[in-house]
Each structure stands twice: as structure tokens, then as C-alpha cells.
């Protein structure tokens, strides 16, 4: 069954609230997070609404990678914030990949062999 944008959010709501901590309620705020901080990726998806579908990696694996790579820069509180951010990214990834594309759908980015 095709998962639509609107169908997954109800099912995912509880997950969103628990995974994303305070930004979980962002889904209910609709555009308020984006209103507050318009150029940040973290808020643009209004709290992130994890979609059905499998993530390529579990948040745990990414969190482990993040700790190995950046843990030296962060204290415990900041690591928790990073975990929330990574959960947000994971939820977002699921939503992205729930949107089905065809093999031939090309990205918006453009490479030009010669500059105009």
C-alpha cells in the first residue's frame, strides 16, 4: 500500500514525540518552528514526522559514529542534543524515502561541463 504524506503522520505521532523530545511537539506547532528559525534545517520539518519505511542505518549506529568522530568536542548534555538531532535526521530520512521515485528521476542539482 502506498504510504502518503498524510497517512503516516498520525501513526508516527507518538514515535515522533518520544524520539524527538521537545521538538516532537513541533509537529503540532505546524509552521511555528520554521517561523522562529527559518534557515535551520532542524526546524524546517516541524519536529520531524518519521515515516514508515526502513532507515538505511539505525540511529544507534549513527550515534556511535557521531561519538567516535565528534564526542571529543561535546559534553554529556550536548551529546543528548546530538542524539535528538540524529533521531530527527533519521526520521526525516524515512520520510524522504517513503516518497517513491522512479529510476530516471534526476536530482535538481546541475553539473555543467562548461561555465556559461
Amino acid at each position: 500500500m502506498k504510504t502518503t504524506r498524510r497517512s503516516f503522520v498520525t501513526a508516527a505521532g507518538a514515535l515522533s514525540a518520544s524520539m524527538l523530545g521537545c521538538i516532537g511537539r513541533g509537529a503540532a506547532l505546524a509552521d511555528a518552528p520554521a517561523a522562529g528559525a527559518p534557515d535551520s534545517g532542524m526546524r524546517l520539518d516541524a519536529g520531524g514526522r518519521p515515516d514508515a519505511g526502513e532507515a538505511a542505518q539505525s540511529p544507534g549506529a549513527i550515534a556511535q559514529l557521531a561519538r567516535e568522530r565528534y564526542g571529543k568536542f561535546l559534553d554529556d548534555q550536548q551529546l543528548k542534543l546530538l542524539d535528538a538531532k540524529l533521531s530527527d535526521i533519521e526520521g526525516r530520512s524515512k520520510r524522504l524515502h517513503a516518497f517513491k521515485l522512479k529510476n530516471g528521476d534526476e536530482p535538481a542539482s546541475e553539473f555543467r561541463p562548461v561555465r556559461p
Partner: protein, 475 residues
Amino acid sequence: MIPDPELLFTPIRELAAQIRSRRLSPVKLVEVSLQRLQSYGPQLNAVVTIAGKQVLDQARNAEQEIARGRYRGLLHGIPFGAKDLLATKGMPTTWGAAPYQNQSFDYDATVIRKLADAGAILVAKLSMVELAGGMGYRNADASFNGPGINPWNPDYWSGGSSSGPGSAVGAGLVSFAIGSETVGSILTPSSFCGITGLRPTYGRVSRHGAMALCWTLDKLGPMARSADDCAIVLAAIEGADPEDPTTLPRPARQAPAARSRLRIAVPKGAADFVLPEVARNFNQSTEVLASLADVAFNVVLPDFPYGPVASTIVDAEGASAFYELIESGGLRQLRAEADRVGGYGGALVRAVDYLHAQRIRERMRKPFEELFQRYDVIAAPSRGTVALPLGIDFNKAYPELQSTPKDFVSPVGTLIQAGNLLGLPALALPNGFGRENLPTGLQLVSARLKESTLTALGSEYQKRTDFHRRRPPGF
């Protein structure tokens, strides 16, 4: 004779007429701007650097040129400010962030050069959210020089990330400013500060010399007092630039439309689950628009995961743009706690996610092209709220909106995200006031390169309303 306190609230076209006829000296205008920047700039956290006295020499030169009959156009002798992400020779360019507060460039950004060629006088570099918000700030205190203060109420934020341009134009410290938008950074402070802001089509204005956050999303545009002012500034800064390969040639003058009456779409749910005053003022705005155009209500916007697409692109491109800062642990120098962490997450966005987002983005194009076959303009509130209070995380600012159903997708946010992803122009106009004497805004979005439609419609709207002429108390 315009009294001094009125000068920087006066439309550019009116100032220009006085300057050209030598009833107003550019020296006087620049002096008033410098005085107001010094008096009010610090209390609004609006200013990073005020230009030195050399700008008075520039103003004298402008005056002499005009006296000799060498009038350059409507911006000759007009003082302006620039968001502090634009390179300016001889002044620091801080990107709003402590790690870059001593940064300087030995060249001017293309928009700065074009405005200088038009005779405009740069009087200040204006505050901004650190790194244009790309690291994930969650409250207003996210600039190395403190949160932007709203001139309409000092307990509220001026918006971001073009916070300084919003408050400096709102308080009449400069005639206009140049802001930037990746996903909402012109529209939001324009709405919160009760000014008029224009986000141009992606590529219409050169980004050369501007801090890069997201190469595929960043745009520069005017923030001013009126739609007409925005059109005047856009005409000076637009056009192809060999230094920015994404720029587009200046569009040919548009022939009058076969249909003389515009068609405006109001998205379904545009005034739902916003603050009551935002809904009330938007509904009143649609009545004004209906006197100017055919307005269709309950138009359904194409359904895409705009938020995740935009967030993924911002995170990935932002992490690439600031990779060295991230990998060196330099994020710890940023002001906002969330900014000290967010970039690490951005650096771990998978390539397949980024590309998937860009592929979805491409799929959005056709449905919007079809939409703009049926309508000339889409109208919605600029923001679902008035300005957000200082000292509170954004998502806790207006608890009454917590009851919004989880499956409600806000057309307000959707339009900002979609408009930016598709590189569409948008105009934010003040359309009333709400709680705590704070302004609300109206956004108008058109097909690409149709800025003239937006500014013409905006000017007609502003002939029928006076919100753009209101001044914040005390300024």
C-alpha cells in the same frame, strides 16, 4: 521639507525626488542615518559595524555629482545597510558568528558594488543569526552580538536570520537593507518587524561575496519600507554576474498580461491553526486583494515532503560549507547551544538522502508550473504568528498552537519551503497588528522571474492600506 525623524521612514522615490531637485542633501540623509544607527542600533542589537566618516565624503561626492547634473538614479545618495554576510572591503564581515568576528575581505560582494555604482551609500553592516541559522538554532539568542530586538516591542525577537536588516529598516535607521534568504530569512524578519521584503528568484541576484550556507537555496534581496522600494532596489542589484554562474540575465521588460486582472490563489487552510490575529488580518487582506484581482480560495497545494527535503539540503550543504569549522570543533565558539551541536548531525547526513531530497525537489517543479498556469500569485500569511518572545525556545512560544492536529500541514510553512526549494520569488508585506503591538504579514508568491507582478500587486495593496507607513513607538 521632511523632518529629520521622518527621513528614513520616507519612501525611496520621494527621497530621490528631493535629492535630485536638491531640496534634500545626501549628506544630511547620511548624517541622520549615522546618528540613528548610533542611538538606536545598540538597543536593538541591529548593528555590527557602523561605517566611518568616509561615508560622509561619499555623500558629499554624491551631492556634488548631482549638482553637476550627473544623477545616477533613484538610489543616488540613499543610505543602506547590509546583512553582515556580505563581503565589504574596509569593514569586517562577521557572518554573525564569534569564530569569524575578525574576518575581513579585500573585495566587495557584487550586490555591494552594484549598489555603489547606483550611488547608494553603505552606512552599516547589520546583525544576523550566526551562520544564517544553518547550524540549527532554537531560540533568538543566536548571534555573537545578542538576539535581534524587535522595534515594535523590545521583549520580542526581530526574526531571523536577517535580524539586523529587519529591525534597522523597521526602526528607520536606514532607508533599506540587503538581507538573505535560504528558507525564510527575508520573509520572517520582514513580517515580524512590519516591513516589506522581497525574496527574488534564485539566480536573479548574484551571490558572489555572500557567505554560502546552501549554494542551491541562498538568495539575496531587499528589505525596505514598501513594495515600490523593493522594486527600485532589485532593479539595481539584479542581473548576470560572471562571478556567480547561477545568475540569470536581467529579464526582458514584461509585456502587459493578456488578462488584465490577476488571479490569486489562497491555499486551503491558509488561515487555520495560526494565531487569531494572523487569521483575522489575513482575511482582511484577502478582501483588499479581491478588489484588485480574482481570488480563488481553498486551492490545494501540491503534496510533497517539503520540510524534510529542505532540512536535508540545508543540513548537508551547510555542513559542507562549514566542514572545517565542524571538524575542528569550532562550533563550540557559537552562541546558541543548539548551534554548537547541530553541524555535527548535518555532517552525517547520508549522500543518498541528500540526493533523494534533490530528486524530490525536481519532481516539485512541474506541479507548481501547472499551478502557475492557473494563478498568477499565491497568497498566505507570511508567518503563522507574530514575533516570537525572547528567552523562550521557539517551539514553546505560543502554547495555544500546541493543539494543532498532528496531520495538519501548514500552508504557511509549506509555501515558504516550497517557494525556496523551487527558487520562486516572494514578497512579504505588513498587513496589520496583533498582540503586544506586534505586526503581522502577508506573503505573495509568484512564478519565477515574476517579481514585477509581485511588486506591482504589493504597491496596489499598499495604496489601499497604511500598515507599511506605521512607525514603531519611540523611533
